[in-house]
């Protein structure tokens, strides 16, 4: 087939199966502005920022116009510039414009485009309303007065997560994004994944900020503040400080946290190593007995909530393992049980749903949560900035003893397929390095939303599925229920791509997700301990602190909320 071309601003550009002109234009290196377009969501075509002109002077929304061979498109004419400015002014005319005090300051698309298109004044009357906050959720905060009705959150929540907690309500000038009956978001089936906040172009949905309270505890002399850092954080933060996207900067994070005043710094991968051993053991037991299969993973709290809401009958199939964060937190609280200071456990997570997980009743002892604070990678960025630390110049340091060692298996937990690969390593009969390497090619790696793999174990075939995105998970569960599919083990993560693309991470794109994933696999490749059971810290825990307490400290039975 001959190659097809179209002209974009007089430059011929190849059409290679793109669904819309916008994608072709961006491929040609032109950063066309958009509010309502995300390649992974359906096309909505409402904001009209992406307009282009054809050779007859007709205006089209490029996001919803398919490319055709021979098309001649202009992206930057006086008319288009005028048009875009007017749209921006219209948006700004009912917007509060209090950028300095907005959570999204510096990361807001509306702000960025207003600056890019040189909006110096708004010709329309300001009709913006008072802040209209919904602070009911532990994970996200909504301010409806900042909403530009692009619908990105609505489509994300429905199309990718199949939760549908929010939608457009009312019409005309009263239109707004809202849960059913205008209820607070915490009263809905929202699972706290935060993906709506990740796509919201403005400050209308943001990640909840818990740093103010935390600063307070850090400076309290009577408090011993210990912190654990999740695997995905180390590859998600560097770019914010001018380092390469996906670069593993764990050592710098450790150093920065110490300077900020944290007393002890640990790695959640230690918790992940515990999870691997516990989950592999549980899986083997179920496999031998042939009961409660397939086994679903339990690391992702958004998935747990989704299952509780939609498939309560599947709860017995979900692993009883606490998530790595919670396992490690109970170990830490146990370890410091006799400390003469109040022990505060902080978790730095790529995830907004972890804030909810930490607050669950199941993870409290005498009312006090095992994890006192969950702060997201985004919040950590803010704390580092606030403390004035020049991150790119910090000398890397290593985590504290006695939990100073982690395995590569624990580190790859942060990417979709990582949990599975770590568990398979534990199960594999052949533990040679080459055999481990071969595992990487069984289909468990890669950022696809649904992956399937199968391995031989004790003479039988073990069928595995790895899913990210709750709609993908839901589809698979339906297929399992209808008997169309059979699996023994399912890894489920709510966020597409896994925790590296969690909503608590700085927002990234497809390319960024690839780099973060590569960053984690690189660290695994470089680590001398590959498998969780080889981690001396873990072995010491089993023969010491965990003796007789494995069930109490590392497992959980979720009690469904009324």
């Amino acid at each position: 087939m001959s190659t097809e071309f179209m002209l974009i601003d007089n430059v011929p550009v190849e059409i290679a199966g793109e669904k819309n002109i916008l994608a072709v234009i961006r491929k040609a290196g032109i950063e066309l502005p958009t509010f309502c377009y995300y390649s992974e969501l359906s096309v909505y075509g409402a904001c009209r920022m992406c307009v282009v002109e054809d050779k007859w002077g007709d205006i089209h929304a490029s996001c919803s116009t398919p490319p055709k061979a021979g098309m001649e498109i202009r992206t930057n004419t006086p008319r288009l510039r005028k048009y875009r400015k007017m749209i921006l002014e219209l948006f700004l005319s009912n917007h509060c414009r209090d950028c300095t005090t907005c959570e999204k300051n510096g990361k807001c698309k509306l702000q960025e485009l207003a600056q890019r298109f040189g909006i110096k004044q708004v010709r329309f009357n300001n009709t913006s309303g008072e802040p209209d906050l919904d602070t009911s959720s532990l994970c996200i905060v909504r301010d409806r007065s900042k909403c530009i009705l692009c619908g990105d959150c609505v489509r994300m929540c429905d199309e990718v997560q199949k939760v549908g907690a929010i939608d457009f309500a009312h019409r005309g000038s009263k239109m707004r994004v809202s849960p059913a009956f205008d209820e607070p978001i915490a009263k809905t089936n929202c699972v706290g994944c935060g993906q709506c906040a990740a796509v919201c172009p403005t400050g209308a949905i943001v990640v909840r900020d818990d740093t103010a309270r935390l600063w307070h505890d850090i400076s309290d002399r009577d408090a011993k503040v210990v912190v654990q850092i999740a695997p995905a954080v180390r590859v998600g933060i560097g770019k914010e400080f001018g380092l390469a996207e996906g670069e593993n900067v764990m050592g710098r994070i450790v150093a920065a946290l110490r300077r900020m005043g944290f007393d002890e710094v640990f790695d959640t991968s230690t918790g992940a190593d515990l999870t691997v051993l516990e989950e592999a053991g549980e899986f083997l037991a179920r496999l031998h007995k042939g009961e409660k299969l397939p086994l679903f993973t339990s690391c992702c709290p958004a998935w747990i909530q989704y299952a509780e809401n939609n498939y309560p009958e599947l709860m017995p199939n979900i692993s009883t393992c606490r998530s790595p964060m919670q396992m490690f937190a109970s170990v830490l609280k146990e370890h410091y049980r006799h400390s003469n200071r109040r022990v505060v456990v902080v978790a730095v997570m790529p995830c907004t749903a972890k804030k909810f997980e930490a607050a669950r009743d199941e993870f409290r002892e005498d009312g006090i949560p095992n994890v006192d604070y969950v702060i997201t990678t985004q919040e950590l960025v803010k704390m580092i900035r606030e403390s004035g630390i020049v991150f790119s110049e910090v000398e890397p340091e290593s985590v504290d003893m006695p939990f100073g060692a982690v395995s590569g298996a624990g580190v790859i937990f942060g990417v979709t397929g990582g949990v599975t690969e770590a568990v398979i390593r534990r199960l594999a009969d052949d533990k040679s390095v080459s055999a481990l390497r071969a595992l990487a090619f069984t289909g468990v790696r890669g950022l696809k939303g649904v992956k399937e793999a199968s391995i031989e174990y004790a003479g039988r075939e073990v069928r595995i599925a790895i899913v990210s995105g709750l709609r993908n998970a839901d589809n698979l569960i339906r297929q399992i229920k209808s008997g169309e599919k059979h699996y023994d083990f399912l890894e489920i993560m709510a966020c597409p791509g896994g925790c590296i693309a969690g909503a608590g991470q700085p927002v990234t794109n497809e390319e960024g997700r690839k780099r973060r994933s590569a960053g984690l696999y690189d660290s695994d490749r470089m680590s001398s301990i590959k498998r969780s059971e080889e981690n001396p810290v873990i072995m010491a825990l089993y023969s010491g602190l965990l003796k007789g307490k494995v069930h109490n400290l590392l497992h959980v039975e979720y009690r469904r909320k009324a």
């Binding site: 907690a165 929010i166 457009f168 309500a169 019409r171």
Partner: protein, 158 residues
Amino acid sequence: MKAAIDFGEMDAILTKYGHKANNIIPILQDTQAKYRYLPREAFSYLSEKLGISTAKIYSVATFYENFSLEPKGKYVIKVCDGTACHVRKSIPILERLRKELALSETKVTTDDLLFTVETVSCLGACGLAPVLTVNDKVYPAMTPDKTSELLAKLKEAN
């Protein structure tokens, strides 16, 4: 106060429309015809049966003005306040109704769920102004006194 819904009736409606989510509008219309409004319980029931979120159904229900999320009275009285009716004194009619039924602009339905009083703009019967309708039956050339008589008759019928 809100009547719980009858799942059997809801199922009948769903069957009539083939359990199809894209029939949500007629499904809501039939539901409203049954209950004179859209009860909350209907949202969760329909959401489960049709596989669409309650937020989406709420979105449809709030988009069209004909749907009501509040229970309505047995008699829904709509007083026209279009230009023609307004000029020919529709407001005193409305005021009389509200006074006799102890209703207001914000409280539109009586506690015994007998009457709902609303305004509409132009019913398309300007020649008969001022006009009001009771459950879509048109009453032309109304006056406050004639309205009181009508109310009395309706009350008596119950």
